[in-house]
């Protein structure tokens, strides 16, 4: 469909689309909020109404009549809520959500110069109209185009125009109005000064004059009234048509007071000006996460911070510049140089950190699309689900964020489809009919963890094994271990679903999820209890970040242990070491028994074993358990920039990434949880369970 737009309208169209999409998000959030709460919050209703009203007006101003029409139907229904004449039932709200989708679709189609279905638009409008049907009067439809003017003949009108004294205070000026009248035809005018007081009594803001006269031309009564439309009620106006034979036909008489009936507006609550702005969190920092464009929107304060740091860098640079000079470096200058270099190091690090932060965005952006998804899917599947979200402010790099969306959608669909049971089944199982789905995000020792947790029926291990045997993935007698089981669950085409629903069950989702997460350098873990629920954890390394690290030396190499993971460091006292079932050493630290680990051994790096006599032990927390890492030396504590080992090499269990040290050499950042797993695995192989 082509729009006839002026150049100006075309220029501003992009802005209009942006605004409208943002408004639709607000609208959607508001509608979902109304659905969740038991009593309809008048402020939310008002906000939601305003968005529909805005889009209607805006679309009209840009010539988008169809969009304006749909928005108008939604606005009518919402006005019904506002007036208390209609109640926001779940059905009405769902219909409005359909309207949101419709508007979004139409805006996108218009923006991308595609077509959309006029028919389905029509049907949606009809349904909205039906839902808004009520006896109370409702806002008029958007201005209909004027009916073509009837054939015109010259007519003559006589009029009398007597402004009330306060007319000027409305900003209207009778002379201008008469000037407009003069444009319509031949005007003969006489002024009536009878009400004019003497100079002393004259008040400049009051109007004392009146006019009467005739207007002749190819003009209609409506056009004359139009000139005076704004001053209805502020003036006495009489217009009568003078017919050829001299008889005077009284045309419209403007009553001196506005007698037109005012429809009683029964507001549900006083229309207080909505205080808090309904802005979605951190809009300024929102990036085009979904579009995956090569640009991001950055919060102004992040840029300000950057500017400050560059400023400090410049100061440091000039300070170092001052130290340039002739003559040998004396102790004083050396000292200043040292200071300056330290300052430089700090400045550079902060700058680096700030720039990295530009790319990072709160995960809330991705989480935001789920309330709607869960709502729609829940209805579709006939399941009652409450969505809880935690950790929306956890920041991730923009590229990671973009790739996280689809895997999460798959996982949420799975939870709703196969995890959370139908209300009857839940009731029979003694669970509340309302199922709970949680989306959580948090930092854990150098990783970001994103979890999808449901309180559904869990994954039945025996069924998985049976199905795997059926599919030939497992031999008839093979008993898989934890990792093998996980591999099965995420195998392409694997599904224990009895039927393939529209939503999931084709088994194509999970392997793609794992592959996507792995391509980000992470992995997926499953924790499930049959009957109670399932937790799927996506663990992603902070590959673009700065972390606080403790440098340690093992043999000739240095490694970095994330400071967050360190509990404490102790000098090993050999008497506290117990040999346990063969090769495992346990350390007795106060009342705790901590398994000890030789990094060389665990990582498979050839090097000298750290003997307990000379070792330091760094106690770290891995997945809730404490493990003691044996090292030769504790080096500096410093901030390190996480560099990807993944991009050119690959993922290594036990390593969270790499970093470049001050001397230019590469050091690895340990993944404490991964090391814990490696340790458990090697113990399992030796047939020994760690204490």
């Amino acid at each position: 469909m082509t729009l006839q737009l002026t150049d100006l309208q075309r220029q501003l169209l992009g802005t209009f689309f942006e605004e409208s999409f943002e408004g639709l998000e607000q609208l959607e959030t508001g509608l979902l909020a109304l659905e969740r709460s038991s009593k309809a919050d008048p402020e939310t209703i008002n906000d939601v109404f305003r968005v529909a009203h805005s889009i209607k007006g805006g679309a009209g101003s840009f010539g988008l009549a169809a969009i304006s029409r749909l928005a108008h139907e939604m606005e009518t229904l919402l006005d019904g809520f506002r007036a208390g004449a209609l109640s926001p039932t779940p059905d009405a709200l769902s219909l409005l959500l359909e309207g949101v989708d419709g508007l979004r679709g139409m805006l996108e189609a218009t923006r991308d110069e595609r077509g959309y279905s006029e028919e389905s638009l029509g049907r949606l409008c009809e349904r909205l109209k039906a839902a808004s049907a009520r006896s109370a009067p409702h806002p008029a439809a958007p201005a209909e185009p004027q009916s073509p003017p009837a054939a015109r003949s010259e007519r003559t009108f006589a009029f009398r125009f007597e402004p009330h004294s306060h007319l000027l205070e409305s900003g209207n000026e009778p002379v201008r109005l008469l000037r407009e009248l003069a444009r319509l035809g031949a005007l003969k005018l006489e002024v009536d000064r009878s009400r004019l007081p003497g100079l002393r009594a004259l008040e400049p803001n009051l109007c004392y004059l009146g006019w009467h006269g005739t207007l002749r031309g190819a003009v209609t009564l409506a056009e004359i009234k139009e000139v005076f439309a704004w001053v209805e009620g502020d003036a006495d106006l009489e217009v009568t048509e003078v017919v050829a034979d001299g008889a005077v036909t009284p045309a419209a008489r403007q009553p001196t007071t506005n007698e037109e009936p005012v429809a009683p507006k029964t507001e549900a609550a006083p229309a207080a000006t909505p205080g808090a702005a309904n802005a979605p969190a951190a809009t300024a920092a929102r990036g085009d996460a979904e579009a995956g464009l090569g640009s991001i929107r950055v919060a102004v304060d992040k840029i300000d911070l950057l500017m400050n740091m560059v400023g400090e860098l410049v100061i440091t640079q000039s300070m170092l510049g001052e130290l340039e000079g002739d003559g040998p470096l004396d102790a004083h200058r050396v000292e200043r140089l040292r200071e300056g270099l330290g300052l430089l190091a700090r400045n550079t690090r902060s700058l680096q950190e700030s720039v990295m932060r530009l790319r990072s965005m709160p995960i809330g952006i991705v989480f935001n699309r789920f309330p709607r998804l869960v709502h729609d899917l829940g209805r579709q599947l006939g399941k009652e689900v409450e969505l809880k979200i935690a950790g929306q402010n956890t920041e991730l790099d923009k590229t990671v964020l973009e790739k996280l969306g689809d895997p999460l959608v798959h996982l949420v669909r799975n939870s709703l489809d196969h995890g959370i049971e139908a209300p009857e089944l839940r009731r029979a199982a003694g669970k509340p009919e309302l199922g709970t789905l949680e989306l959580r995000a948090y930092h854990r020792g150098g990783d970001i963890v994103v979890e999808v947790v449901d309180d559904g029926k869990g994954i039945d291990r025996t069924r998985v094994i049976a199905r795997a045997r059926e599919m030939g993935i497992l031999g008839p007698d093979e008993e898989p271990g934890e990792d093998a089981l996980r591999d099965i669950l995420f195998a392409p085409g694997f599904s224990t679903a009895k039927e393939v629903t529209n939503v999931s069950g084709r088994g194509v989702g999970m392997d793609v999820v794992r592959r996507n997460v792995k391509s980000l350098g992470g992995d997926v873990f499953v924790d499930t209890t049959p009957g109670r629920g399932t937790r799927i954890s996506l663990r992603l390394p902070l590959t673009l970040a700065i972390i606080d690290g403790q440098l340690i030396r093992v043999g000739v190499h240095a490694y970095v242990v994330p400071l967050l993971s360190i509990v404490e460091s102790v000098q090993v006292e050999p008497r506290r070491v117990t040999r346990f079932q063969g090769q495992r050493d346990i350390y007795r630290l106060r009342d705790e028994l901590i398994p000890m680990m030789d990094l060389c051994e665990v990582l498979g790096v050839s090097g000298q074993r750290v003997s307990v006599d000379e070792a330091l032990m760094v106690v770290v927390e891995a997945d809730g358990e404490h493990v003691g890492l044996l090292v030769h030396e504790l080096l500096a504590q410093q901030q390190v920039v996480v560099k990807s080992l993944e991009s050119n090499y690959g993922r290594v269990e036990g390593l969270a990434g790499a970093t470049i040290l001050g001397d230019g050499s590469v050091s690895f950042i340990l993944d404490v949880a991964g090391i814990g797993r490696l340790m458990r695995r090697s113990h399992a192989r030796e047939g020994v369970r760690a204490a």
Partner: protein, 120 residues
């Protein structure tokens, strides 16, 4: 050549009005909400103010009411932009102090023709 201020929280519509007026040779200032508009009005004098009704925070009518309290703006023309004009709304607008209204959607010529009624 008049000094006009346009007030609307919708950037696209505000610019549509502002740029249409500027194109006709007027000196146009913009405000995104009632509060900003009031403070701008105190700093500069305008021959005409055009405001949307439907704004968050301070809505159009509240803005007009507060504007009329300022001595300099007792009789300055103020037009409100609105998508419909039923009689009750008209009364409300007049009582708040509005000079007149302009119904959305309007095209540039309608806008320019309407402001002729209030500008010399």
């Amino acid at each position: 050549m008049a000094k006009i201020m346009t007030v609307d929280d919708s950037v696209s519509l505000r610019k549509l009005v502002a740029q249409t007026l500027a194109g006709a040779g007027h000196d146009v200032a913009e405000a995104a909400n009632g509060a900003d508009a009031l403070s701008t009005a105190k700093q500069k004098t305008f021959d005409l103010i055009i405001s949307d009704l439907n704004m968050p925070g301070m809505d159009g009518l509240s803005f007009v009411r507060q504007l009329r309290q300022l001595a300099a703006y007792r009789t300055v023309p103020v037009l409100i932009l609105t998508t419909e004009m039923d009689p009750a709304k008209k009364k409300e607008a007049k009582e708040a102090g509005a000079t007149g209204w302009l119904v959305k959607p309007f095209d540039p010529s309608q806008l320019l023709a309407t402001i002729r009624k209030v500008l010399d």
